[in-house]
Symmetry: C2
Subunit: 285 residues, 2 copies
């Protein structure tokens, strides 16, 4: 086991994801500490016994003790933290993260990082429509995907440890992609879907529609409840890819519209059969 | 109670919805018969004791006995059935349906119907991604909406009976809309969502994406598994409205795209906050 039980894990940013990591990892008996901005989050986590210690300050002892440091912060705050505070980390510490975009942060952080530290990036594909450590639960990892995004600066040991972390957390699939492949994949599977959901939710302000809705509309707009601060940052950090994906979607949508205008039943049916066959790949288990 | 327990109910078209109606209504002890095209559907329903009798023929006795006739057929087959076979219906029989579009069938049928019959249209907003009587379940009605679409040709008694039927079936909300209001509502809440789902599912044929997917993509494409014969017919029957809704969606999507291009964070955040606030209206219960 690469992730040694005697190692100390520090979580920086104890929100929904940071808290869910703490809950999952505490079961194995790890020593877990946390640094986050609200005392109430620390108090909750101590009371729930999902961390051993925590602080809202840059506690030098806690930071200097950690063997594995997991950053669960907004992308730009993560970068700033490393810029300003990496001097506090223990030599040999391994750093990982949960950030939803990779190209814009991985190289930047690896380039500025002290040579005696290593950053191996990861993206746990899990979340909820609510935030905060109080809503954290390691159930969100069940059946979900965990993507490690190594670069040529990473060692096989760090990649292995990070993949093992994904398995310990309970993810169903642990895979690797380059930061570029990750951002393309995520642009389509997650960012484009959020663009679609918020568009659908805001394009028609007719009243009382909720009285007539079907589950299909609820499904397509579940993620329309969105953290505007985080997602606007994620969209811009992946702007080139996301714009390409939006255009790809638009081209196909316009194709369908043209078929409907022309009452091209055969064309529409072919698209629907393609859709049906392809959707089967995405069924869980 | 307007739906008298001594009345005989005939379901024409024993598929997923017809079968689910039979299951729900049989609990109250109604005499239920069915006419459908496959003997296996009749055999299943008799074995499950959700119908009392059934036939794959135009059984004159069964049809002539029915007080309430529920049509669960494709729109054009429903219209053809009435054209060709309405002579078999008992004088005074009440007709209703489950059709997902209304303008294109309600007036046509009411105009051609014998004066001693009445057709009150309804749309149960419930379904599954699987079809056939074997997959029927009245659980799909729980928490769902049932829309009655009367015209000035309908009597208050028939409207009342149809609304009561919706309640007996177990629908959470039973409401009325004009056929025009219905088609506009459904164009947005159901047809546009299916257009979006099948577009998203078919606009990118990259391989292996299922290994990296998040629940958001699964949510947005659940309904991308679609009955191509039925939905192409429904789309074309509501073509004018659906094209308007597709354009409305496109306008907003292009607005978001322009904001992303311009890195207009404030604009994107405002749209996301609007989306978040509006989505709260659509939560169940």
């Amino acid at each position: 086991m690469l992730v040694d039980i005697s190692k100390k894990i520090l979580i920086i940013g104890l929100g929904l994801l940071g808290g869910s990591y703490a809950k999952a990892l505490k079961r194995f008996g790890f020593h877990i500490s946390a640094i986050t901005k609200n005392q109430s989050s620390i108090d909750y986590a101590l009371k729930e016994k999902i961390i051993d210690e925590g602080s809202i300050e840059l506690d030098e002892r806690i930071i200097g003790d950690a063997d594995l440091v997991i950053f669960a912060l907004y992308p730009h705050i993560f970068v700033e933290w490393i810029e300003q505070n990496q001097g506090l980390l223990k030599s040999g510490a391994l750093i990982t993260d949960v950030t939803g975009v990779k190209r814009s942060i991985v190289y930047k952080i690896q380039d500025m990082l002290r040579p005696d530290l290593e950053f191996i990036a990861a993206h746990p594909m899990a979340g909820r429509e609510v935030s905060g450590v109080e809503n954290s639960t390691d159930k969100i990892f069940i059946g979900a995907n965990y993507i490690v995004t190594p670069t040529d600066k990473n060692t096989p040991e760090a990649i292995g440890t990070c993949m093992e972390l994904g398995k310990l957390l309970g993810f169903a699939n642990v895979t690797t992609l380059s930061p570029e492949e990750h951002d393309e994949m995520i642009g389509f599977l997650s960012q484009l879907t959020h663009c679609i959901a918020i568009t659908l939710m805001t394009c028609n302000d007719k009243e009382d529609m909720e009285k007539f809705t079907a589950d299909s509309f609820r499904d397509l707009t579940r993620i329309a409840r969105i953290n505007d601060l985080m997602w606007s940052e994620l969209f811009i950090a992946n702007k080139d890819v996301l714009l390409d994906q939006m255009n790809m979607f638009l081209d196909k949508f316009n194709e369908l519209k043209a078929m409907l205008e022309a009452e091209d039943v055969d064309g529409m049916r072919e698209m629907m059969r393609h859709s049906t066959a392809r959707r089967a790949l995405f069924d869980k288990e």
